[in-house]
Amino acid sequence: MTIKRRDFLGHMAAGSAVISMPAFVSGCGVPTATAVREATPENPFMAWFGVDQATTARVMSELTASGADAADLYFQHTRSNSLTLEDGIVSNANSGIQQGVGLRVVIGEQTGYAFTEDLTLPSMLAAARTASAIASGSQVVAPQAFNRQASGDLYTTTVPWSDVGVDRKLPLLKFVEEKARSMDTAIEKVAVYWADADERVMIATLDGKLVTDHRPMTRATVVVTASKNGKTQTGHSNIAAREEFAWYSEERLTRMVREAVDRTMIQFEARRPPAGEMPVILASGASGILLHEAIGHGMEADFNRKGTSIYTDMIGKKVAEPFVTVVDQATIPKERGALNYDDEGNRAGKTVLVEDGILKSYLHDQISARQYGLSPTGSGRRESYKFAPMPRMSCTFMEDGPHTKDEIVAAVDHGIICETYTNGQVRIGAGDYTFYVKNGWLVEKGKITAPIKDVNIIGNGPESLKRITMVANDARLDTGGWTCGKNGQRVPVSQGIPTVLVSNMTVGGENAG
């Protein structure tokens, strides 16, 4: 089967199976994405976007007509689908296509940026001229051909989301709802939210690289509302990954539902802790939110090259006990924060932020790496073609330490242990950061006692790092669907941590003196 190039865009626009039975699909004339993949042995991505080497080179040449230290074209096509179950029925679906190309010129610390959703040559040339207006020099030599880089294999799927119809997803939402209802008679409402997406990006750079990446993503969420003795409580859980349909086993979904139900029902007994300073134990997994806020953002090099981060002058200094090592690593297969290449076309990798208590490296994009005279760490990310990239985290976690969870709990006379979270925030310059604890427990005389809920915890990044006095050997990544926002751009991230003790933090609570 041969398909002309312009036809590829036609297939791409649809490209998503409605339901999985082939008869139905062909019956309504919707082509499948399978045909697209088969017909493009050489470079399917160029075909996806309806461009070729010559067109890409022509646009790059226009983009750099007034000079550039770096420049890139970021082609993106994202097909997303979501489903909602409320009141026992799946009666709401959403689908979307986001397609466009972002064009960027970088000169020193200066960036010119434009994008267009119209992938015709005249439109791309016009956007290129707009972006190039930041520069006032002379034409640099732009590549006439691009070298396609090897594809990454961190999240290769056997069945793309475009081949999975609503008919296969719908029973899973029903399963989740029924499972939740069966777990407790106090449950009155169950809502299930499903999301999946196939994102394809193609990045062409001024130095002649052509990077392609197919990035799947999926997330399932269950929200439970229960009533007991005239009180109502809501809780939720979600799981997310760069995975495919087969990832959703009954066991995995059941575990998610169990978490949501447990988190909801415990709230009927939960109270607020007393207000003020106390030792805080962070349970393994989602507590990695501490790292994201207390150190991760402050280590993004755009803040540091501008001198606005509290960590600006601290590289090489001791910031924590020797058993504290904090890493940002994009190369963990299938994780929500995983990336083969970053959004500047650099190989994503592993960056050690803190090694044995010493502050080691910032997270760099090309602009900051050039300024510091370093190689980029593959941390340049963007929400979509509508945005210029900047340094961002991927999967941020702390490695195992020498203690055990039991030792840590036993060491606390009066404090709390935090288990689940909804959100966090940081003030980069002062280093003050917060995270909101949805569920946790009081710890009294070395024992976990009564449940607590809904408290904000606030601390200072460098102070908190110093106060990590114990680190257990039970590190794990959280499977929740975390999204990080910075300067108006949202990107998927992962986080993880072993059980740790922070000797003193300020805990929101009631009955203040």
């Binding site: 679906a93 397609q99 909804t422 904000n456």
Partner: protein, 438 residues
Amino acid sequence: MPAELENRAMHAVELARSAGANDAWATAGQGRDVEFGYRDGALEKVKDTTSRSLAVQIYADGRYSSHQTTDLNPERLRSFIAEAVAITRALEPDEHRQITPAELFDGRPDEDLDLVDAGVAEIDRQRRLDWCKALDEAATAHERVISATAGVYDGSQLSASASSNGFLGTQESTYCWYGSSVTLRDQGERRASDGYYVGGVYVDSLPAAHDVAAMALERSLARLGSEKGPTAKTTMLVDSRAAASLIGRLLRPATGRAVHLGQSFWSGLVDEQAFSDKLTIVDNPLIPRGLGSRSFDSEGIASRQLPIVENGIVKNLYVDTYHGRKANMAPTTGSASNRVVGVGEHSLGELLQEVGDGVYVTSWLGGNADGTTGDYSLGLSGHLIENGEIGRPVGEMNVTGNLLDLFSRLELTGNDVYPYSTTLSPSLLFSDVDFSGA
């Protein structure tokens, strides 16, 4: 241009109908945005973009779904919408999913909301640069400044909606924002930082760039030497800018959807005295030049003023047609426009005198609220209030309680409204609030 977008929306409705939809709603949109970033004496970023989109909602065989795309190629749009109809048919039927009844389209306001300033389209590179330079000069006028970033952001948005049951309407608005973020050297490795931005529909209504940056610098200087405040139950005065965000948290679950899902502490409160009689909130989509003004909402419901809380009594919730049908509530509108909080008679200085001793909150940091119960806990920074005066800066504190309880202890509202928001609130004074700090 409006006619072109109207045609695009009507064409999408036709495509949906011919693909088998019983009803359809489509919105075609486009926008132009220009952003300049300027840092420490040099232009850092120029972003200049034109975007477009098409959204379509399908009603077919008692089923519903919504879709959007940025790919407007005619052939591909046709197959996209055909597929949208097919997706809809694969769902379960729901009798409550119906297109907005045409009678709710009636009564669209006649008055001109004055949402388009022709001056915005005339802003050129030189004017943006002049603003940047003025911002940069005023923001860096202190020896402790490490870095200051000036931002200018202007543009326009145009959209047209059409439906299979006779709706047709366009909305257009312009906007222009600018301001500065300032970082100062504080004790040790700490940096003090804050920012100030102003924006509006009309360019010439904005204060001078120089004054805006001076405010950003002043707010940043006020953070120098900030320390952790005390753990105490005391009076809380929230400045008008921070108050807008607190009002937003209060109103988030005030929707028919949240009530129907059992996820709202507003459930059962209509006609009840739920809050202090000092609290009045009106949703007003008809404010001339208002940042949230509109003549119809996303479902086509004609705009009108909607009292939410009147002297502490709950009058209305935000109810969309779908959840209204499900919960047996009359639809109002499913989303907020301009949320206007009733003002009092006191200036900020008088409120401070009223407080005597307490905490003055100037910004929030993180935190959240449980919409089902109203339980909240928020990080904050601000100042101590000592003997009726603004005292030393404090931070690294939380305030914790329940929103229903908090707003029943709203003692006074100021006469100072923060204007650069869709939530127009004065300063708010609450008694007996739980603070956690040192």
